[in-house]
């Protein structure tokens, strides 16, 4: 095979290892595949007649993987009635329904593929995928098909489905959303009607209109506005009332006062047949405010859903060992003291200690440490982490709420509830403004009541309407919404309202190395041979030894070497390495001590001058070669760092990794400030130290262990590939994983801040000039309404500039 033109896997886009010959014919052309998993998935898609998937998809699929029989058994557990109780709804007869979390959805074509494939299964009554949430809803006839068959079918086309219990939170979100949508619908439809009548009435004011008709149109407008007042605008009145009861004045107080006041005045005018009506302003104002809040709610819900997906870290079932042997039980049934068998590749169900076996455990989700950790009898195991190498028997010590995982979730919840303090600042400023406004309006009303009671009401109304902080209250949200939309198109998701404001002020950007600046995958760097051996030959032997291993190093080796050799009688020693026979020779690959132990005492082959440190290969004659592995920095990471520096932001790197690795990466990217071997507490301390000096810290992270640090920083960003929890706590998410979008986000945030300032200045200048005119009776209520709308319009149009 030609080494220079290394093709990428047609299915998942990863490079095809040299020597691999997996192909699938798609649209009449043989396409290369990187592994049997991708090959199986692609064949399943093609033979199912769904080859169009490859034409429509806009992203590369996740690497395919065939299920081993043990995993199929695991799926079969989902058929058990006692387990199904928690997530399956039973309908009439044998019809059942369940909600699934789908992993591996990268584009809309994936949704099409899943729906088409699963719907074609006999016995499946309905299957629909929600593209925004990556959730699926399935209903099936339990007599004709089992849930495990549906899950296996989804696996066959390269996706993973986990049944889950939608839970209470989700139900609340759904109800909240439905309610907001209904209000929006009512306000929107009514607004259109009232505006139409208002145009007729305005025209009538100029050209003259039959008095009966004029009165009729005004009464109809009043009737139309009633549902808006009684139903759609309820949230403003409720929240204003809550504010007043707590003796506060939030933004909703003047909003309610303006809507309520304008409606009351208009209703009075309509009934008495005199004066101006503002029904058009009332409905329009309500509709725009509701629309803004609906968009904000959507972003908030998305963040909350990600947090709920953390339950996915814990397995649903566990193998409990008792006198009669092994038994599969739901995790919820485990109690402290139970003995549980954890097979390689399985997640650990709860916190406990190892009592039998020796293995390595992947704790990267919790600690951010990418290298697997060794666990021996007596060592602690944390629920949610993954057993890598060999079976372990553990004794459960803590379950449910008491586990480390739930503690982290709680920590996060608390941090999140404490956070909006910064966001409330704007509201607090507005509170004084509102209070001043109300006092002023009262004073104006009192003065005119004394001197000219006939005009007192109209003038007070003018004051209230003209100074209605619509422009003021629109100034910030309009700019934020426009900027958020522009950033979302770039692939930067904003989940908190304050994120942009804070990002604009940030003085420090702190990276967490693992997975943020690097690709998060070990890559082969080079080989150093000792003595007279071919480097390529060593590489081939090493790749053959690691051919079926799940270790990160194995994947890196396999990606590099041709699979020409076959290793036999392989035995893995956890934490040390692997031994096997290649061409009749025994070889060992692993840490130096383990490999040199193989060397027979009489061997004469000279070892290396310096003690090797990395992964070495050796046989009975001695050490043969040493392999270098490293995590490669992401594309354009250096440009992104340079650009951030240009923007006047200090870039820092806090990493849990070894000093050498961190220094190398910092050097490559031109980061002057860095710390290595940081535990989460150290990172937190550093962030707090910077904050104590007055710095505004933007933290870019990706692991669950970062969650408290992310929450402590004034503004936090997560990379899209990071864990769901980081998404949940992060204020912004870089879905694109494209680092140059980071300085772009900072720039947009600063432009947003500039626009917000312009808007606020404009709103204040307008209010200050209009107020004396209105208070002295120079502005009629209709002029006030026009001025209010015009100033709001200016603010919105100015904000819309951010979309470009």
């Amino acid at each position: 095979m030609d080494m220079s033109a290394q093709p990428d896997c047609f299915h998942c886009g990863l490079p095809v290892p040299p020597g691999a010959r997996y192909e699938v014919e798609i649209d009449g052309q043989a396409q290369p595949m990187c592994c049997p998993g991708c090959q199986a998935v692609a064949s399943a898609i093609i033979s199912g007649g769904m080859g169009e998937f490859y034409r429509y998809r806009t992203g590369k699929s996740v690497r395919g993987r065939e299920l081993v029989p043990a995993e199929l058994d695991e799926l079969a557990l989902y058929n058990r009635d006692d387990l199904q109780q928690s997530f399956v709804q039973r309908k009439a007869g044998e019809q059942r329904e369940a909600a699934l979390i789908l992993e591996g959805i990268v584009c809309a074509a994936c949704v099409w593929l899943n729906e088409r494939h699963v719907k074609a299964l006999p016995g499946v009554l309905d299957f629909s995928v929600n593209y925004s949430t990556h959730r699926a809803h399935v209903s099936w006839d339990n007599q004709r098909i089992k849930l495990s068959d549906i899950l296996a079918a989804i696996n066959a086309i390269g996706y993973h489905a986990h049944p889950f219990d939608p839970g209470r939170q989700e139900a609340i979100y759904a109800r909240e959303k439905t309610r907001a949508l209904r209000r929006l619908a009512v306000a929107g439809v009514v607004m259109v009607q009232v505006m139409m009548l208002a145009v007729a009435l305005y025209a009538g004011d100029y050209d003259g209109m039959d008095a009966t008709l004029r009165h009729f149109l005004r009464v109809v407008s009043l009737l139309l506005t009633l549902p808006v007042m009684l139903y759609a605008a309820q949230p403003f009145f409720v929240s204003a009332w809550r504010d007043l009861k707590r003796r506060q004045t939030g933004m909703d107080v003047p909003v309610s006062l303006a809507i309520g006041g304008a409606f009351a005045a208009s209703a009075w005018s309509t009934l008495t047949g005199s004066g101006e009506i503002y029904f058009d302003s009332v409905t329009m104002f309500t509709f725009f405010l509701l629309a803004g809040r609906f968009l904000e709610m959507g972003a908030r819900h998305r963040a909350g859903q990600a947090a709920e997906e953390l339950i996915k870290l814990l397995p649903v079932t566990a193998a409990r060992l008792d006198d009669s042997g092994e038994q599969r039980v739901p995790v919820a049934d485990l109690v402290p003291g139970d003995r549980v068998l954890v097979r390689p590749g399985e997640s650990i169900a709860a916190d406990g200690r190892v009592i039998e076996g020796c293995s390595s455990v992947d704790e990267s989700l919790l600690t951010g440490e990418s290298a697997p950790q060794q666990r021996q009898p007596g060592d602690l195991l944390v629920g949610g982490t993954v057993n890598n190498e060999s079976p372990l028997v553990m004794e459960i010590e803590q379950v449910g709420e008491a586990t480390v995982l739930s503690a982290i979730v709680r920590l996060l919840d608390r941090a999140q509830t404490e956070k909006p303090e910064v966001a409330r600042l704007a509201d607090r400023v507005a509170r004084w403004f509102v209070l001043a406004l109300l006092i002023l309006a009262t004073a104006v009303a009192w003065w005119w009541w004394k001197h000219d009671p006939q005009h007192a009401f109209a003038i007070t109304l003018s004051v209230l309407v003209v100074t209605c902080p619509c422009a003021l209250s629109l100034a910030t949200p309009a700019a934020l919404t426009a900027a958020t939309g522009a950033l979302t198109r770039l692939g930067v998701l904003t989940t908190r309202g304050h994120a942009l404001e804070t990002l604009a002020r940030s003085t420090h950007v702190i990276f967490d190395k693992t997975g943020t600046l690097t690709e998060g995958r070990l890559r082969y760097q080079g080989v150093e041979v000792f003595g007279d051996v071919e480097p390529d030959r060593c590489l081939e032997i090493a790749a053959a030894l690691e051919a079926s291993s799940e270790h990160p190093i194995a994947a890196a080796l396999r990606a590099e070497a041709a699979c020409a050799l076959r290793a036999e009688s392989l035995t893995a020693t956890p934490g040390c390495g692997i031994e096997g026979t290649v061409d009749g020779q025994i070889y060992r690959l692993g840490i130096p001590d383990f490999v040199t132990a193989l060397r027979s005492p009489e061997s004469e082959l000279a070892g290396p001058a310096q003690a090797p440190t990395g992964v070495v290969l050796g046989n009975e004659q001695g050490l043969l070669a040493q392999f270098e592995f490293a995590d490669r920095v992401r594309e354009q990471a250096a440009e992104a760092v340079a650009e951030l520096k240009q923007l006047g932001v200090t870039v820092e790197l806090l990493s849990g990794d070894e000093a050498g690795v961190v220094r190398r990466i910092a050097g490559q990217l031109g980061i002057e400030h860095f710390q290595s071997r940081c535990r989460p507490e150290d990172k937190l301390a550093r962030v707090q130290a910077l904050q104590a000096q007055g710095a505004v810290v933007a933290m870019v992270g990706d692991g669950v262990n970062d969650a408290p640090v992310l929450a402590a920083a004034q503004v936090s960003l997560a990379m899209g590939g990071g864990t769901q929890l980081a998404h949940a706590s992060a204020d912004m998410v870089l879905l694109s994983e494209h680092l140059p979008h980071l300085p772009a986000a900072v720039r947009t945030a600063r432009r947003t801040r500039a626009v917000i300032r312009q808007n606020l200045t404009w709103a204040l200048v307008y209010n200050i000039t209009a107020l004396p005119l209105a208070a002295t009776g120079y502005i009629a209520p209709w002029m006030a309404a026009l001025g209010m709308s015009a100033s709001s319009l200016v603010v919105v149009v100015n904000a819309l500039r951010l979309r470009r």
């Binding site: 014919e25 009449g28 093609i46 033979s47 199912g48 007649g49 169009e52 429509y56 584009c107 809309a108 074509a109 949704v111 099409w112 088409r116 074609a120 995928v129 929600n130 593209y131 925004s132 949430t133 959303k177 439905t178 949508l181 209904r182 619908a185 009512v186 439809v189 009514v190 009607q193 009548l197 039959d210 008709l213 009729f216 149109l217 109809v220 009737l223 139309l224």
Partner: protein, 61 residues
């Protein structure tokens, strides 16, 4: 202009129907996924109607 006294009430009835249709659409879950349908329309299931290439004869659906 007297016709307006009839037409406007009729428009109110139509508006009522529009609101009812909206509420029905919300209840039936049409607003649950605001992104997917926009893409889904591009991927219709009508391809099996187009004659298949002979090498896919072993297709069993």
């Amino acid at each position: 202009m007297d016709i307006l006294f009839l037409l406007i009430p009729i428009s109110l009835i139509i508006m009522g129907i529009a609101v009812w249709v909206f509420l029905w659409a919300i209840r039936s879950g049409q607003f649950d996924d605001l992104e997917g349908p926009a893409h889904r329309i591009l991927m219709d299931d009508d391809d099996p109607l187009i004659p298949r290439r002979p090498q896919l004869k072993d297709d069993d659906d």
